[in-house]
C-alpha cells in the first residue's frame, strides 16, 4: 500500500476543506477503501478521517414523517433499529442481505453509497480498465463477464454497482444530502450514481471535496411498509454480491395495486428503477400475470454485455418473485436468510 498523509478534522467544514486538495479521499470505516488501497487500485495521497465527526451517526425522525439517516450510521445499527425496520422493511432486508455481520458492524451509510464496483478487472491492476485508468480499455469486454451489466452499459464499461442498500433506497425516492465548500445541497439518490457512458471514471455526482452527510427517506416511503421486500439472487447462500436483486414495494387496496415502487440491483452501474413497470402495476389486481408484465417492461431495453444473456430472464423472474413476495405481505420478522429466493411465498425457508 502506498503511504499517505492522515488528517482527522474536527468538523464537517474542516473535513471538506481538507478533502478539497487533489489526491484526498474520505475515510469512514474503510471496509472498501482499505481493501482497494491494499490492492493498489486506489492510491490516495491523503486520508481525511471523518469517522470521529459528531452528529453524523444519528437516525432522526423528521417532523414531516420522513427519516434522516446520518452518513456515519453503521449498516447493522440501521438494519436493527426497530422503528426504522418496521417502517422501511425492504431497506432493512437489503442491508442484512449484504456482506457479513463483521462488515455490517463497521460499514457506514455514506460508505455504502460510495463503494466501488466489484468488477474483477477493476480490482486486478494488471487488467485494462477505463474506470481505473481512463482510456486504457476494458478487459471485461470479451473476458469473464457472466456477472456483468445488462442495462445502461457502454462499450467503455460493463461493470455493475454492488450495493444492496441503495436498491430499495432508489425505489423509495431517497435523497442524498451533500456538503461542499459552496455549502449544502441535495440530490435524489437516483441521480447520484452515473451510468458509464464514455467516462466510467466519473462514478457519481459529487464534486471534488464534497461529502455525503445524510440520506433521507420521505414519509411517503413508509406507506409501503406492509408490502415491501428485497430479493437477491447470488452465487452463494450468504455473503456474496447480487447477481440480480430487486426491491419491490406495493400499496394494495381491496386487492388492487394503488401504488408501486421498484428497482433492480446487480444489472447496471446504478440501481435501476423502472417507472414504466411501476406505472403498469397501478390499478391492476395484485396477481401474478401483471407482475410478469411489469418484469417484461422493466427489462425491455436489456441486452447482454457478454456471456450474461441468462441474467435478463433471471432478472425478469426476480422481479416477478419480488412483487409476489411483496404482495403476500411483509413478514413480521425478517427471514433467517434475508432476501433469499429460497423462501417460498408463504415465508417458509426451503433450504434443507
Amino acid at each position: 500500500m502506498k503511504s499517505f498523509d492522515y488528517v482527522r478534522p474536527a468538523t464537517v467544514r474542516e473535513a471538506v476543506a481538507a478533502a478539497a486538495l487533489p489526491g484526498a479521499a474520505y475515510l469512514a470505516a474503510g471496509t472498501n477503501l482499505l481493501d482497494l488501497m491494499k490492492g493498489g487500485v486506489t492510491k490516495p495521497d491523503r486520508l481525511v478521517d471523518i469517522s470521529h465527526l459528531h452528529g453524523l451517526d444519528r437516525i432522526e425522525d423528521l417532523p414531516d414523517g420522513g427519516v434522516r439517516i446520518g452518513a456515519l450510521v453503521r449498516n447493522a445499527d440501521l438494519a436493527h433499529d426497530r422503528d426504522f425496520a418496521r417502517r422501511f422493511p425492504a431497506v432493512a432486508e437489503a442491508l442484512l442481505s449484504g456482506a457479513s455481520a463483521q462488515l455490517r458492524n463497521a460499514a457506514t451509510v455514506g460508505g455504502n453509497l460510495m463503494q466501488r464496483t466489484r468488477c474483477p478487472y477493476f480490482y486486478e491492476v494488471a487488467s485494462a480498465c477505463n474506470k481505473r485508468s481512463p482510456g486504457a480499455g476494458c478487459d471485461a469486454r470479451g473476458g469473464d463477464n457472466r456477472l456483468h451489466a445488462i442495462l445502461g452499459w457502454s462499450e467503455h464499461c460493463i461493470a455493475t454497482h454492488p450495493s444492496d442498500f441503495c436498491v430499495p433506497l432508489v425505489a423509495l425516492d431517497a435523497v442524498v444530502e451533500i456538503e461542499g465548500s459552496a455549502g449544502r445541497r441535495e440530490i435524489p439518490l437516483e441521480a447520484f450514481h452515473r451510468l458509464p457512458g464514455d467516462a466510467p471514471d466519473r462514478e457519481n455526482a459529487l464534486e471534488p471535496g464534497e461529502m455525503i452527510v445524510a440520506v433521507r427517506l420521505p414519509a411517503e416511503a413508509a406507506r409501503f411498509a406492509s408490502h415491501a421486500r428485497y430479493i437477491k439472487v447470488c452465487e452463494r447462500t450468504s455473503y456474496a454480491f447480487a447477481l440480480v436483486s430487486a426491491a419491490a414495494a406495493l400499496r394494495i387496496e381491496a386487492n388492487v395495486i394503488a401504488d408501486a415502487r421498484f428497482a433492480l440491483g446487480g444489472v447496471a452501474l446504478k440501481p435501476w428503477r423502472s417507472r414504466e413497470a411501476e406505472g403498469i402495476l397501478i390499478g391492476a389486481p395484485a396477481e401474478k400475470p401483471i407482475f410478469r408484465r411489469a418484469a417484461e417492461v422493466a427489462l425491455a431495453e436489456a441486452r447482454p454485455s457478454g456471456d450474461n444473456a441468462f441474467k435478463i430472464e433471471l432478472a425478469r423472474r426476480v422481479v416477478e418473485r419480488a412483487f409476489a413476495l411483496a404482495a403476500a405481505g411483509t413478514p413480521k420478522r425478517l427471514p433467517a436468510l434475508p432476501g433469499s429466493p429460497f423462501a417460498a411465498v408463504s415465508g417458509v425457508i426451503a433450504h434443507d
Binding site: D5, K38, S100, A101, L103, T237, Y239, L337, I349
Partner: protein, 165 residues
C-alpha cells in the same frame, strides 16, 4: 510522521507510537503487541480469521486502520478466558469439534461471542449459520461450529440466569 494512539486491549490500556499510518488493527496486534492469536487469513475482509471485538462489536481487524481507532477498546482471543478457565464459547468449540486445523478458530470464536451478544439469532441454526457467514473454515467444520455456537449461547444464558438469581 509519527503518531501516538491509546488503545485498551483485553482490559489493559496503553499508549502506542506508530511510525507508519498504514498499520491496521490486525498488524498492530500481531506485529507490535505480540498478540498473534488473531490470525491473518486473506487480509481483505473476506475470511473472518482476523475477527476481534471492537468497542463491543465484532469487526474485521484487517480492514480497520489503527490510527482511526484511537481510544478504542479491543477484545481479542487472548482476553476471553479467565486464567485457566476457558470461555464458554471456547469450551463449546472443543466439545462439539468446531475445528480441525484451528487456523480460523480464534476468528470463529470472537465472531461467535459477537453474534451471541448481538442476540439476533436465537436458537435457529439457520440464523446462526447466516450470522457466522463472515467466517470461512477450509476444513469444513461448519456443522460443529453451528452446534458449538448454539450450545455456548445456552450455557451463557444459564450463567447469566444464575447471576441474576
Amino acid at each position: 510522521m509519527s503518531f501516538s494512539i491509546t488503545l485498551t486491549v483485553n482490559g489493559v490500556a496503553s499508549t502506542i507510537a506508530l511510525d507508519d499510518p498504514r498499520v491496521t488493527l490486525l498488524d498492530l496486534l500481531r506485529e507490535r503487541l505480540d498478540l498473534t492469536g488473531t490470525k491473518k487469513g486473506c487480509d481483505r475482509g473476506q475470511c473472518g480469521a482476523c475477527t476481534v471485538i471492537l468497542d463491543g462489536r465484532r469487526i474485521n481487524s484487517c480492514l480497520a486502520l489503527a490510527l482511526s481507532h484511537d481510544g478504542a477498546d479491543l477484545l481479542t482471543i487472548e482476553g476471553v478466558a479467565q486464567g485457566e478457565r476457558l470461555h464458554p464459547v471456547q469450551e463449546a468449540f472443543i466439545a462439539h469439534d468446531g475445528l480441525q486445523c484451528g487456523f480460523c478458530t480464534p476468528g470463529q470464536i470472537m465472531s461467535a461471542i459477537g453474534l451471541i451478544r448481538e442476540g439476533q439469532a436465537g436458537n435457529d441454526p439457520e440464523r446462526v449459520r447466516e450470522g457466522m457467514s463472515g467466517n470461512l473454515c477450509r476444513c469444513g467444520a461448519y456443522l460443529g461450529i453451528t452446534e458449538a455456537v448454539l450450545n455456548a449461547q445456552k450455557a451463557l444464558a444459564a450463567v447469566s440466569r444464575k447471576e441474576v438469581a
